[in-house]
C-alpha cells in the first residue's frame, strides 16, 4: 500500500524585490524558497494514515524542480517520508500547473500508489490547478479542498470533507484510488526530529528524467503552457496613508484613530 504526496518548493519575495529587465518575472536574486505550506499538511495526513494503519504503508514524496528542490524533499524525508523522487530536465523550466500535473501523472503510473495527495494551492502562484489536472490525466476520482479525511489504506472509498465558502463543509464519498487536494488545518503538521533530520541526510533522492516519464521536450516548458506571460508588474499601493515616525509616534496616531472611532 502506497501514498504519493506531490510537494512543491515555492518562492516568497524578499522585501526589496525587483522585476527582471524583460518584465516577465521577478529577478531570481530576490526569491526565497521553501516547501509550500499546504504540502506540510498533506504530508502529515499521509504520515498519520501510515502510522495508524495495521498494514505497511509507504509514503513517497515527489517534486518537479531543479537541484535546489532537494532541500524541501529532505525536509519531507526528515518528517518520515519513506522515499523522495525529484523530477527534472532543464526543458521543464516554465512549465505550467497543467503540465506539471501531467508529469506527476506519469510518476503515478509508474509508482502505482493507492492514493495521491496534492496541496489545494501553492502560496506563490496559487494556480490551485495542479492536483486536479493530475487527476484528469489519470482519469481518477478526485476531490478538492479536503479539510477532513476518513480513509482506511487499501479501501475502495474514502470519506472526504470538502471545505466550502463561509465555514460550511460538505462530506463526500470518493472512489479510490483518488487524487485529493488537501487544505490547511486538516491536521497539525509535526516538526522534524533531530534524529529524522540526520536520517534524512543519508537517504537517497531518486532522480527522474524526462525520458523516464515517457515525455518529450516539446510537451513541457513554457512552450507547452496553456497561458503565456506578457508582463509582470508591481501593483499600485492603493490609497493607504502611511504613518511614519518612531514606533511611539506610529502608535500615537493609531491611538488617535481608535479614540476618534470611540467618539472621544
Amino acid at each position: 500500500m502506497k501514498i504519493l504526496v506531490a510537494v512543491k518548493e515555492v518562492a516568497a519575495l524578499d522585501e526589496d524585490f525587483e522585476i527582471r529587465d524583460d518584465r516577465l518575472d521577478v529577478d531570481e536574486d530576490f526569491l526565497l524558497y521553501d516547501l509550500n505550506e499546504w504540502d506540510d499538511f498533506s504530508l502529515e495526513e499521509a504520515m498519520q494514515i501510515k502510522e495508524s494503519a495495521d498494514i505497511d504503508v509507504e509514503v513517497v514524496v515527489v517534486s518537479v524542480g531543479p537541484d535546489r528542490v532537494e532541500e524541501s524533499l529532505r525536509k519531507c524525508l526528515a518528517k518520515g517520508a519513506d522515499r523522495a523522487i525529484r523530477v527534472w530536465d532543464d526543458a521543464m523550466e516554465g512549465s505550467d500547473a497543467v503540465t506539471i500535473g501531467r508529469m506527476l501523472a506519469a510518476v503515478v503510473e509508474k509508482e502505482k500508489p493507492d492514493m495521491v495527495f496534492a496541496g489545494v494551492q501553492s502560496s506563490d502562484n496559487a494556480d490551485a490547478a495542479t492536483g486536479i489536472s493530475l487527476a484528469a490525466q489519470l482519469n481518477w476520482p478526485h476531490a478538492a479542498v479536503v479539510a477532513g479525511l476518513e480513509y482506511q489504506p487499501g479501501s475502495s472509498t474514502a470519506k472526504a470533507t470538502r471545505e466550502l465558502e463561509g465555514g460550511l463543509s460538505q462530506q463526500v464519498e470518493v472512489g479510490c484510488p483518488a487524487v485529493l487536494t488537501i487544505q490547511l488545518g486538516i491536521n497539525s503538521p509535526r516538526y522534524a526530529s533531530l534524529r529524522g533530520i540526520k536520517q534524512a541526510a543519508a537517504k537517497p533522492i531518486e532522480e527522474w528524467s524526462l525520458d523516464q516519464l515517457g515525455m518529450t521536450t516539446d510537451e513541457v516548458g513554457s512552450a507547452a503552457a496553456l497561458a503565456h506571460v506578457r508582463r509582470m508588474y508591481i501593483p499600485e499601493k492603493g490609497m493607504a496613508t502611511m504613518i511614519g515616525g518612531t514606533p511611539a509616534e506610529q502608535a500615537a496616531k493609531l491611538a488617535e484613530i481608535i479614540k476618534e472611532f470611540r467618539g472621544e
Binding site: 516568497a12 522585501e15 502560496s123 486536479i132 497561458a227 503565456h228 509582470m232 496613508t241 506610529q250
Partner: protein, 319 residues
C-alpha cells in the same frame, strides 16, 4: 460572431451571488455580435432561470442532471458536452471551491487556454489579455493565450459588479440525467456555532495574523484589544493552530465581518482569502514589517513596523 459561455453556481437551492459577477465580467469583454450564453447545472437547475435572466444574457441553458448539488465528474462531463456543441471562444467560471474541484480537468483534456483567479480581462486587438496575481499578491501578471481558439478562465469574486438589470434571454433545457459519478455527496455540515461573540455583528475589530509568531503572544493582544474596546479576531493560521476559536476567523472560509467599521490588522499579509472577509471595512489600519505586504493595498492607514513594538506603545496611550 463568437460565443461566450458563463457558468452559474448554486448551493442548497440558492444561486451563489458570484454567478452574476461572472455574467458581468462576460458583458465587459463581450464585443458587438458576440453571444452570451449562461449555463446552470443540476437536478433543479431550472429554478434559477429567473435569477439569471439579467440584461445582456442571450441564452440560458438549463442542464438537468441527476445530482442536486455540485459533483466534479458530472460537472466536467456536462461542460465537455456543452463546449463541444457550442464551440465557445471564452468560458468564464467563478474561482470558487466547486471550480477548484473540476475546471483543471477541462483545461487538461481540451488543451484550452487557461488561467485561474483572474481579476481583469481585456482585448488587445484580437488577443484576450487576463490579469492575475503572483507571489502572494505582491505582483500582477498579464497573460495571453496565443494560438488558443478557446480560453477558460476562473474569476475572482467581489471584483466584477453583479448585473442587476433584468433581461429576457431565451431558455433551453438539456437533459443529462444519465451522467454518473464515482463520487457521492453525503451531507452538508454547518460551521460550528460562535463560542462567545458573533464577529459578523461587531463594529471594531483587532485582528492578529501569523506575525504574532507564538501562541504565548496571543494573550497580550487579547489584553490590548480589550483596552481598545475591540473584538479580537484572526487570520486562518491562528484559528487552524487552535490559538483562537474558528468562530473568530475572518475570511472566505471564516466570517465576513459585515458590521465592522474599524479593522486593525496586526501581522496579517493580506491574502485574497483573508481580504474576502474584511476588505469592505471603511477604515482599515494595517501593521506589518513588510512594506510590500498586500494588506497595504486595501488599508486606509499603513504602519510599517513591528507589531510587538506598536503593541507596547499603544498600551501606554490607551491606559
Amino acid at each position: 460572431m463568437k460565443s461566450i459561455l458563463a457558468i452559474a453556481e448554486h448551493r442548497r437551492g440558492v444561486l451563489r451571488p458570484i454567478s452574476l459577477e461572472v455574467i458581468a465580467a462576460a458583458q465587459d469583454v463581450k464585443q458587438a455580435g458576440d453571444k452570451l450564453i449562461v449555463a446552470v447545472i443540476g437536478e433543479q437547475a431550472d429554478s434559477f432561470v429567473s435569477d439569471l435572466s439579467v440584461a445582456g444574457v442571450d441564452e440560458i441553458i438549463v442542464v438537468k442532471t441527476a445530482c442536486a448539488e455540485f459533483d466534479p465528474e458530472i460537472h466536467e462531463a456536462v461542460l465537455t458536452s456543452l463546449m463541444d456543441s457550442l464551440d465557445p471562444s471564452l468560458v468564464l467560471l467563478p474561482h470558487s471551491v466547486d471550480s477548484l474541484g473540476f475546471v483543471a480537468t477541462l483545461a487538461r483534456k481540451g488543451n484550452y487556454g487557461f488561467a485561474t483567479d483572474v481579476f481583469a480581462m481585456k482585448y488587445d486587438g484580437d488577443a484576450l489579455v487576463a490579469t492575475r496575481a503572483g507571489y502572494n499578491e505582491k505582483v500582477h501578471v498579464e497573460l495571453d493565450f496565443p494560438g488558443k481558439d478557446c480560453v477558460l478562465l476562473t474569476l475572482r469574486s467581489s471584483v466584477f459588479k453583479a448585473v442587476e438589470e433584468a433581461g429576457s434571454p431565451t431558455v433551453s433545457i438539456r437533459d443529462m440525467s444519465d451522467l454518473g459519478s464515482r463520487s457521492r455527496n453525503l451531507e452538508f455540515i454547518e460551521p460550528a456555532g460562535a463560542d462567545d461573540v458573533d464577529i459578523t455583528g461587531v463594529d471594531f475589530i483587532m485582528s492578529i495574523g501569523r506575525g504574532i509568531a507564538e501562541e504565548a503572544n496571543v494573550e497580550q493582544f487579547r489584553e490590548l484589544a480589550e483596552m481598545a474596546g475591540a473584538t479580537l479576531c484572526c487570520s486562518r493560521p491562528i484559528a487552524d493552530s487552535g490559538w483562537l476559536p474558528k468562530s473568530r476567523q475572518v475570511g472566505q472560509s471564516g466570517k465576513v465581518v459585515g458590521s465592522c467599521k474599524l479593522y486593525v490588522a496586526m501581522g496579517i499579509s493580506g491574502s485574497i482569502q483573508h481580504m474576502a472577509g474584511m476588505k469592505h471595512v471603511p477604515n482599515i489600519v494595517a501593521v506589518n514589517t513588510d512594506p510590500n505586504a498586500s494588506i497595504f493595498t486595501i488599508a486606509q492607514y499603513g504602519i510599517v513596523g513591528d507589531i510587538f513594538e506598536i503593541e507596547e506603545e499603544l498600551r501606554s496611550y490607551l491606559e
